[in-house]
Symmetry: C2
Subunit: 205 residues, 2 copies
Amino acid sequence: KSPENAAIRLSFYLRCLRKMKKEKSISSERLAQFMGTSGVRVRKDLSYFGQFGTRGKGYMIGELQEQISKILGLDRVWTIALVGVGKLGTALMGYPGFRKSGFHIKVGFDVKPSKIGRKIASVPVYHPYRMPTIIRAQKIRMGMITVPAEAAQESADLLIISGIRAILNFSPAVVVAPSYVKLTQVDFTTQLEIMTYFIINRTKE
Amino acid sequence: KSPENAAIRLSFYLRCLRKMKKEKSISSERLAQFMGTSGVRVRKDLSYFGQFGTRGKGYMIGELQEQISKILGLDRVWTIALVGVGKLGTALMGYPGFRKSGFHIKVGFDVKPSKIGRKIASVPVYHPYRMPTIIRAQKIRMGMITVPAEAAQESADLLIISGIRAILNFSPAVVVAPSYVKLTQVDFTTQLEIMTYFIINRTKE
Ligand SMILES: NC(=O)c1ccc[n+]([C@@H]2O[C@H](COP(=O)([O-])OP(=O)(O)OC[C@H]3O[C@@H](n4cnc5c(N)ncnc54)[C@H](O)[C@@H]3O)[C@@H](O)[C@H]2O)c1
Ligand SMILES: NC(=O)c1ccc[n+]([C@@H]2O[C@H](COP(=O)([O-])OP(=O)(O)OC[C@H]3O[C@@H](n4cnc5c(N)ncnc54)[C@H](O)[C@@H]3O)[C@@H](O)[C@H]2O)c1
């Protein structure tokens, strides 16, 4: 199993490659420059997943994009089940950026009677007790949790018994999941800390 | 000026240190284990910012936490101005996690008459034309943009002339800012791509 860190870097390489509209090919050194890392690191990351590019000639941008997309599983559409159709959940359901990248929030779950049986941001909303039936029938593998902290663990448990294998948790509660489930906590604090670091150091220039 | 990547790693070291409730001290090797990196990398990162720990004895956890917090500027409260008090903006204003980390959304701006002059999630909301007066008077340095894509650049420009020096942009629009402003784009696609990578590789086990 390759290290997750390499997959995170692949996702960044892909972002850089998508921005290159004019060039046909790129060297590992040049790709490394965009990322603030080294050519050796880029070659090591890519060689872990297979043989790309020709020695001395670099990589063909179109081809490398396709290969990385395949490794990350982006050559298909992924459906998502979202639990907690409140302010944050509704904003995520209405966000066009996910669909553009091949991620489609297909179904929502909420306990409030006023939301159940309606469509919000053109997504149908059901009561959580229907999760196993609906998520299994639609073969959904990814989940987002946007419920209050006290309902987060129960929502995760329901998603997991319904077949969900990767969850993005937006609630502040610490949620536990078995090792065969990938649980990622959304936390903007790291971004905010980089911002404060920048502000303090800027004034020193 | 130290590299931003080192600051990002410091933020992660801090997160690891906060979780250690029992130990008094820690070696760079052990801290590196949590991060999936090497002891050399940890020592290099920390030595960039000053002399910490004693050779051969590692670092005192309490002391190291304090020193990293100071480097990142977390030894004070930071106020934030948010533009676009819609679904996402309101969810961010009501999120207790920011305050816990010393980040306080103090003021909101929106063009909708029904929101101006009210308090939403106990934060006062004004019209954007009042940004220069209010942001300068309250010496706010950080901003969040949660307006629709077509209003993002204009909101960034207004924040910057009001003295904001670091902005977290949630809108999908590409926003440009002068080099003395730190502009970070929020994009969950990387998290989603790691989730799909995990799902595909898990099934191979
Ligand atoms: N990570 C972040 O930066 C961040 C930012 C904002 C909000 N949040 C968090 O996201 C969550 C949602 O915030 P919000 O502002 O949208 O809150 P909200 O109250 O507007 O929405 C919560 C929704 O969850 C529903 N709900 C409650 N219990 C449920 C259950 N057992 N099953 C299904 N649905 C249930 C409610 O009916 C409501 O519609 C909160 O936990 C909040 O702390 C995180
Ligand atoms: N990065 C992500 O993952 C993500 C997720 C969800 C939403 N979004 C983005 O966040 C933004 C907000 O989404 P939302 O669902 O909250 O939308 P929304 O329509 O609920 O809120 C937008 C708010 O901005 C206000 N507004 C419009 N023009 C303005 C201006 N010139 N100055 C000040 N306020 C103005 C509106 O009155 C409204 O209150 C959108 O750009 C959306 O694409 C990003």
